[in-house]
Symmetry: C2
Subunit: 159 residues, 2 copies
């Protein structure tokens, strides 16, 4: 393990503790590093901001993208105090950093009352078998028409 990795991961763990102590949300922290410098930080703020998406990783990704003026995190490493939940992992894939380093595991999170496993279990299921009732393919052709126009849009920005 690279000593820089340990240094940055300790910073993420410190953010987790500080956010918990300030009652901002769950005990999770994240920093994102580019060229040896932290470009964005986040700690969980779900309960204090009434935002279920305000996980440490999502907030760190948003802050980092604002800092560098890009919706992509090429060349970056994301350090997080705990294995990312499926939402955060999805956000990471859209942001496309080069590397992830995490400390605690999803099993540790579950033992602390954070049930990421339910979401990991639900995602691969067909929509009709999930716990949240889902109606699929309603007005599908009307939505497909929008995609068709997107594909023929000359000035579209792809992401």
């Amino acid at each position: 393990m690279d000593t820089n990795d340990e240094r940055f991961l300790r910073e993420a763990i410190a953010l987790a503790r500080e956010g918990m102590d300030r009652n901002e949300g769950g005990p999770f922290g994240c920093v994102i590093v580019k060229d040896g410098e932290i470009i964005g930080r986040g700690n969980n703020k779900v309960t204090s901001s009434n935002d279920p998406t305000a996980h440490a990783e999502v907030l760190a990704i948003r802050a980092s993208c604002q800092a560098i003026g890009s919706f992509q995190l090429d060349g970056c490493t994301l350090y997080t105090s705990c294995e990312p939940c499926p939402m955060c992992l999805g956000a990471i894939y859209w942001a496309r950093p080069d590397r992830i380093v995490f400390a605690a595991t999803r099993a540790d999170a579950a033992a602390a009352g954070f049930d990421d496993q339910l979401i990991y279990d639900e995602l691969p299921l067909p929509a009709e078998q999930r716990r949240i009732a889902t109606e699929a393919n309603v007005l599908r052709q009307e939505a497909q028409a929008v995609f068709k126009d997107w594909m023929s849009k000359a000035d579209r920005t792809v992401y």
Copy 2:
């Protein structure tokens, strides 16, 4: 299909088109309904806001939670112009609405250049087999210590 479902889903599809026409991001829209009224709206703003998490569903969830002052969407239905990506589906599970109604499928999204499928394929893999290089369980005990303190914290707010 309930005619109200069609009405709200058409509103989500209209948001998808409007956001695309304003060059705010991809052609995706979402509305969230509680007690027969729309409480939050979202359309994709990834490219215009440099925020890879600014998907329609995430923005609609954030707006709705702000509107009702809660980090939970009990009793709500989420209408989205396209099957949610894994990030958005994760966000939906954290927000816990009662129901999801969507129009276009992930296959339609892929045909329009939005590769949710890669993320669906990556999530179930062990961390070391994913395309984004991941180092797991680094400094795990230090992070576990924070979870331990969380569990013994008298005034913690669970979510």
